[in-house]
């Protein structure tokens, strides 16, 4: 099992979600988050005082998958979330030791 983590631009969520549904993904977890990479941040001005805002609003997706599905899903996210401009985000994959479905107690691949 693997955990796919993707940080994407907020307005790309619908595209990514539809793409992954099309690929048969059963569920995902979404978190509103802030971050910066090469895009850096922006400036805000309140009452004449300037503030540097380094962190940009992003969405963080977490998807638990069988090893065999990982490559397709990662490609799907990259395709759906991309605009070609700086700040499109990142996708990374982690190994997962175990998983349990809380309602039934099913374990491993059955829990996905």
């Amino acid at each position: 099992m693997k955990l796919v983590v993707a940080v994407i631009k907020p307005f790309k969520l619908d595209d990514v979600k539809e793409k992954l549904k099309g690929l048969g993904v059963q569920g995902m977890t979404l978190t509103e988050t802030q971050g910066f990479g090469r895009q850096r941040g922006h400036t805000e001005v309140y009452r004449g005082a300037e503030y540097e805002v380094d962190f940009v609003p992003k969405l963080r997706l977490e998807i638990l998958l069988d090893d065999a599905d990982v490559a397709g899903v990662v490609d799907g996210i990259v395709e759906a979330a991309g605009t070609g401009k700086i700040g499109d985000g990142k996708v990374w994959v982690l190994p997962v030791e175990s998983a349990v479905r809380v309602r039934t107690g099913e374990r491993g691949s059955d829990a996905i």
Binding site: T43, E44, V45, Y46, R47, G48, A49, Y51
Partner: protein, 466 residues
């Protein structure tokens, strides 16, 4: 039978139209404080200081009302204590600190040096309430300079002292028929007594209390711009009562004052937006800039709302807003302004704007703008009360009187406020909360926060504090 027909349910001296407008105007002014200033300042402060800001506003307002009815009203607007020979400064300094909370005190016809030309058409309770909402907003205005570090206990002590020894003195001298009123200085609705005094007190207080935490100053992001919009809107339209109530009669000049107030405010708001778009580095219009302009417009027309005409109102607003904009952006970078942490910039939008507005009366007041007729005379004939500025009279006399009264307010308010701050500092063992309290904010001072999250909270069976 005839008697039953002609009976009216109130005394012969009362005019229901005047009394109604005065009570409505007073209520509009009260709304400017609660919720106006509470949500405007709450919205401008960081999230962690919203509760503290709002509670200081509500407690300050309450304290002033109590001070006012127990001794303040008669000090400012009652008969003078005559501490010196007739005509001297001391004779026209302050009234007797008598309460007005008896049935006679509340229900008799209002009599005050605030107007000796024609009798008031409403009772003392109406005049006292109208005047108290002005007194009550003043500490709330200078609160803007002290936010984010002022000790709550110190606030509760400072407000009654300041109203008694600063506000009542300025009000008696300029409004209550005191020394400066007799000399001929005028202040239609409080450009000096309220805004200039608030700006000076806020600045002096900010210097004595000390700055906010460096971290707070560098992260002073407003908590809620929509609340700023709500508070500012209430402030603007509430000002119709602020300036429209000050002729004390629901007559022609009340109408002019309301219109001029809105003319000046619109002109100043657009001036600030234009200056932001033309001369800032970003060349962008900002909402909070527009709100600064709005406040400058309201404040600068306050000393002369019913004495300037519409043209005068526009000139006054554009001039005052330009000066305050320059001060806000450049004067703030030089000493002493750069060294004093005036949290919301009260010294600019209230202090400088109030002083300039008061001087503008000496230049732009149109003697054709009649505040009211005088007993025994035809309304608009000789004897009617109006003010003439240099532009119409060619004389600098009124400007000089305005300058003297303004200089008095600046010097007296600065010295007296400083003394009061040091007295309170001594009693409360300091004016600034400890750093560990300042790091946390509302939760440390009040055990409350502006946006509590129900997810993480669980009710305990008894109060843990015992």
């Amino acid at each position: 039978m005839l008697e039953a027909v002609t009976n009216i349910p109130y005394p012969h001296w009362l005019n229901s139209g005047d009394n109604t407008w005065q009570l409505v105007a007073a209520t509009l002014v009260g709304l400017m404080s609660l919720p106006g200033i509470a949500v405007l300042y709450g919205g401008l402060m960081q999230r962690k200081w919203v509760v503290n800001t709002m509670l200081m506003a509500f407690t300050g307002f309450s304290l002033v009302i109590l001070v006012w009815v127990l001794w303040g009203y008669n000090m400012a607007f009652g008969p003078f204590a005559h501490l010196g020979p007739t005509g001297s400064f001391w004779a026209g300094l302050i009234g007797h600190p008598h309460p007005i909370v008896t049935h006679f005190g509340e229900q008799n016809q209002a009599v005050s040096g605030a107007n000796t030309l024609i009798p008031f058409h409403f009772p003392t309770s109406t005049l006292a309430y109208f005047q108290v909402v002005f007194a009550a907003i003043t500490p709330l205005l200078f609160l803007g300079s002290l936010l984010g570090r002022f000790k709550f206990k110190a606030w509760l002590l400072f407000v009654p002292l300041w109203i008694t020894f600063v506000y009542c003195v300025n009000a008696a001298l300029i409004w209550g028929g005191g020394f400066f009123a007799q000399k001929g200085a005028v202040d239609y609705s409080g450009g000096y007594v309220i805004h200039l005094a608030a700006g000076v007190t806020g600045f002096v207080g900010a210097a004595i209390v000390g700055p906010r935490l460096a971290r707070d100053k560098n992260h002073a992001l407003p908590s809620n711009l929509m609340m700023v919009a709500v508070g500012s809107g209430i402030l603007w339209l509430g000002w119709n009562g602020f300036n429209g109530g000050d002729p004390y009669y629901a007559g022609v000049d009340a109408s002019s004052a309301v219109l001029n107030t809105n003319i000046a405010t619109a002109a100043a708001l657009m001036t600030w937006v234009a200056l932001d778009m033309l001369f800032t580095k970003e060349h962008k219009p900002t909402f909070l800039g527009a709100i600064n302009g709005m406040i400058v417009g309201l404040v600068c027309i306050t000393p002369g709302a019913g004495w300037l005409d519409g043209y005068g109102s526009i000139i006054c607003a554009v001039f005052c807003c330009t000066v305050v904009w320059v001060a806000w952006n450049y004067l703030s970078k030089v000493r002493p302004f750069s060294k004093v942490d005036d949290a919301l910039g009260v010294v600019y939008t209230h202090g400088i704007a109030g002083f300039l507005g008061g001087l503008m009366v000496g230049l732009l007041a149109d003697p054709g703008m009649i505040q009211y007729g005088v007993a025994g005379k035809v309304y608009d004939a000789a004897g009617a009360f109006s003010v003439g500025g240099w532009f119409y009279t060619g004389s600098f006399h009124q400007l000089w009187e305005q300058f003297l009264a303004g200089a008095w307010v600046i010097i007296y308010t600065a010295i007296a406020s400083a003394i009061l701050f040091y007295i309170v500092k001594f009693i409360c063992r300091g004016l600034r909360e400890k750093d560990e309290v300042l790091e946390v904010g509302d939760l440390a001072v009040h055990d409350e926060e502006a946006y509590p999250r129900e997810t993480f909270a669980e009710r305990v069976t008894s109060l843990s504090r015992g």
